[in-house]
């Protein structure tokens, strides 16, 4: 086997990468050295090997020197391995008989001594040639694509992605864990900078989702498990029992009116300020327009008794209430997944000094949204929670926990604009006489129309204090804030009726668990990590899974919708193909050596390994294997082999340089 694939006609191509490589590595010397190596028949150099000219150079050399293997000494394979594979393939050499030697990231960029760096580059190239001589030609295989998409999360990002994919003609399963889709945007009153009514622009989209023939909606449901890989995922969705038959429920609300716990449970949608019953609909525009019975509180479910008979069941003329409903698991087959699970607000209790835990009159922006909303707990009246009086003075404090090394290091990106929007709305609702103060660190009004909006708000008799208060003191009937204003160099004491904190945006509390379930990576801040911050912002490191909206990082609605459409388009790229190529650089099992111990099955993070019950030999599911190498390291009998990373090939690389 070795003899057959033993290649002797290798070409080495050294890239200057402009000056990136050339300034720290003597490329002339390196090329000359490469040409002397055993098996090398030609060595050439060029300024940009990844350019058209470079490609022509490689292809021409392959033909001229009848090459059967190619070594490119350039940047990281993560950057251009794909490019050079195509070039080599076009030239007539099997694309897997290409070896990339990284002399940029691993040499020129990290060393300053040119002489030593050149010596190191020589070792690297020599070792690359040693491997290239043993590289095997490999063929890609294909698999069929399931042309359905799964969208996780029914906020504006998930809604947009679902609609885009559905309009492209793909079947979309949209899974939302709350009883209704709509997400954070449905809680907002108006949106900046245009002051569009949030519900007015969101509700039509929610309705479109509900009525779209290509969208199947799973609300009050969660993703429980996921198997498979790009093109063919099997997803288990756990449908929580809502104890209401949604086919029968007309959304009339008789159950909620009858519920013995009516107006006794804090409403999540109203940030705990409004009340609901155990039979409830989170908000009037909910989609689906169906009621849900909250099992955590329902008397009949928790205590087995609700008066003589459950009041909701008695009240429902449609006989839609069904206490026998059980949790249900549904299997979905999809080819691509868009994750749009959104964000949480930082609980300001972690910055105790700002008094959120001390007074009902210190609230967050999201709570103010519900107070301003005409469908909110006060029907749109701005009232202090302590005494139900209209405030004569409202003070905003920005950057609560944002840009903070002890809390969230990042900027929340929406805090400034959302506070300015509230200033505008409060001025509109409470009139000219109310005092409005804003304590800010820097106003970041970077979006289209944002700076103009900021200018408008400055003109609305807004007291802008450029400084961060150290604490909010609860004085009983008012709150006291000392703030040093760096624009006047003075310390001001603000006595105010109501304080609105603008907290940081944080990842969902269960983002870590969810990432493990989907094998996604988290960035340092705890949000889902994109495959590349600039060039692959919607991709993840798991092929076929894309991210959109605030689950990737804080952003406003504009950016969220753009990213959602982008993610949908990325998913469509996969779904629109009938077949996908599978990279052959994955694990294989040497059947003669495998003892069937099963360690590889346990260790494989992608569930790509199975133990054949009959033959007692481990097998690899090519579609699932990512070539991570975990099974290779774990196999006690060396039966697990990584194609073109065989022990023989690797040892030859080492042997040749020591």
């Amino acid at each position: 086997m070795l003899g057959e694939s033993y290649m002797r006609r290798i070409g080495v191509f050294v890239c200057h990468c402009g000056v990136n490589i050339a300034q720290n590595v003597d490329v002339d010397a390196l090329t000359t050295y490469a040409s002397t190596l055993d098996g090398v028949v030609v060595a050439k150099q060029y300024k940009y090997m990844c350019s058209d000219v470079g490609a022509t150079l490689i292809k021409g050399s392959i033909k001229e020197h009848k090459l059967d293997g190619v070594v490119v000494a350039a940047c990281s394979p993560r950057m251009h391995e794909h490019t050079f594979r195509e070039v080599v393939n076009d030239g007539g050499v099997n694309p897997y008989q290409l070896e990339i030697v990284n002399i940029r990231e691993q040499c020129s960029w990290i060393h300053s001594d040119r002489k030593k760096a050149t010596e190191k580059a020589k070792f690297l190239v020599r070792s690359g040639v040693a491997k290239a001589k043993l590289l095997e030609p490999l063929q890609t295989s294909t698999l069929k694509v399931t042309p359905n998409a799964l969208v996780i999360g029914g906020g504006i990002a998930g809604i947009q992605a679902s609609l885009d994919l559905a309009n492209d003609g793909f079947k979309v399963y949209l899974v939302e864990r709350e009883p209704s889709i709509g997400g954070r945007m449905s809680q907002l009153d108006k949106t900046f900078p245009t002051l569009d009514c949030s519900s007015c622009i969101l509700t039509p989209k929610m309705m479109e989702v509900a009525n779209h023939q290509n969208i199947e909606l799973f609300t009050y449901a969660e993703v429980a498990d996921i198997e498979g890989s790009i093109g063919n995922y099997t997803v288990k969705v756990r449908k929580k029992p809502r104890y209401v038959d949604i086919d029968k429920c007309t959304g009339c609300g008789d159950c909620a009116t009858a519920c013995r716990l009516k107006d006794r449970i804090a409403s999540e949608f109203d940030m705990g300020m409004g009340k609901r019953g155990a039979a409830y609909m989170p908000f009037p525009q909910a989609v689906p327009l169906k009621y849900t019975i909250d099992a955590e509180h329902c008397l009949f479910i928790t205590r087995g008794k609700c008066g003589d008979k459950p009041a909701c069941r008695e009240a429902c003329a449609q006989k839609a209430i069904d206490f026998d409903q059980k949790e249900e698991i549904v299997d979905l087959k999809v080819g691509a997944i868009v994750v749009a699970t959104g964000y949480d607000l930082l609980n300001p209790e972690s910055l105790y000094e700002y008094g959120y835990a001390n007074s009902p009159d210190v609230i967050t922006t999201l709570e103010l949204e519900r107070l301003i909303s005409s469908s909110g707990p006060t029907k749109g009246e701005i009232l202090r929670l302590s005494d139900q009086q209209e405030p004569k003075s409202v003070t905003f404090i920005l950057c609560i926990g944002s840009r903070d090394e002890t809390q969230c290091t990042w900027c929340c990106r929406i805090g400034c604009m959302s506070a300015l929007k509230h200033v505008y709305l409060l001025r509109e609702k409470l009139g000219d006489d109310v005092e409005i103060n804003v304590c800010y660190t820097d106003i970041r009004s970077y979006g289209k129309g944002y700076e103009e909006f900021y200018r408008n708000v400055r003109g609305l008799k807004t007291n802008m204090f450029r400084g961060r208060p150290s604490e909010v003191c609860n004085m009983g009937d008012h709150q006291k804030i000392d703030v040093f204003d760096t624009t006047t160099n003075k310390l001001f004491e603000i006595k105010t009726d109501m304080v609105v904190l603008v907290p940081a945006l944080v990842p969902r509390a269960d983002a870590g668990d969810f990432a493990r379930l989907l094998h996604l990576t988290l960035s340092g801040d705890g949000f889902f990590l994109e495959a590349h911050p600039k060039l692959r912002p919607m991709d993840t490191f798991v092929n076929g899974i894309f991210i959109a909206g605030c689950c990737q990082g804080p952003k406003d609605i504009q950016d969220t919708v753009s990213q959602a459409s982008g993610a949908a388009s990325r998913a469509a790229t996969i779904l629109s193909k009938e077949e996908l190529e599978i990279d052959p650089l994955i694990a294989v099992v040497d059947e003669e050596v495998c003892t069937g111990c099963g360690i590889c099955v346990e260790i494989c993070p992608y569930e790509a390994r199975i133990l054949n019950e009959k033959t007692k030999i481990a097998e690899v599911n090519d579609a699932l294997c990512t070539g991570c190498g975990a099974c290779i390291a774990a196999c006690p009998s060396n039966a697990s082999i990584h194609r073109n990373f065989t022990k023989k090939q690797l040892l030859n690389m080492v042997d040749d340089i020591i």
């Binding site: 000094e353 950057c399 903070d404 809390q407 660190t441």
Partner: protein
């Protein structure tokens, strides 16, 4: 090239600035460079309302390297060491520790030490404590001192000469 403060003709003192930052980095993780002047420290400063201390300005002056201006000013001696600025800084900067460093510099440069600091220093050097046993007045106006009470003898360095020798060594060392 240079940058000059035209109100005081002060120039950036890079060396002194480095000295302070080195000193701080031994006491805590981060140095003042990260400050973005939110002034949360000054908003909550216990000494600001009474004595006009502006911790955020101290950090800004340090970043500019205008060290002499601070070392020669009485303002650095107004800090009450309440540590609120260090506790609440969103960038983990500790103006209070910068002030300690500046005060140490003022002392080391031979400036007169304000208030009773010299008395305290002398007392610690000679007997190990900031003061000797005091006769105190009680609510009924009678006076008593430690010896009149059922308390053990005062704990203090048993060999004052040895103790003093150790301390004197430090007085000339730098942090």
């Amino acid at each position: 090239m240079s940058i000059v403060d035209l109100t005081s003709m002060g120039e950036s003192q890079a060396e002194l600035r480095k000295e302070i930052n080195d000193r701080l980095s031994r006491l805590q993780e981060d140095v003042s460079d990260y400050c973005y002047q939110c002034a949360k420290c000054t908003s909550g400063c216990e000494a600001h309302k009474l004595l006009e201390l502006e911790p955020h300005k101290i950090v800004a002056l340090l970043k500019r390297g205008l060290i002499d201006e601070m070392v020669n000013s009485d303002i650095i001696w107004t800090c009450m060491s309440c540590f609120k600025c260090r506790e609440r800084c969103p960038q983990k900067i500790a103006p209070v520790e910068i002030l300690f460093a500046l005060k140490n510099m003022a002392v080391a440069s031979g400036k007169q030490i304000p208030g009773k600091y010299s008395t305290i220093l002398q007392s610690v050097l000679s007997m190990g404590l900031i003061q000797d046993i005091q006769e105190v007045t009680m609510r009924d106006t009678k006076t008593k001192k430690r010896g009149d009470l059922d308390l053990p003898a005062l704990s203090k360095p048993s060999d004052p000469a040895k103790f003093q020798a150790g301390l004197m060594k430090i007085a000339v060392e730098k942090l």
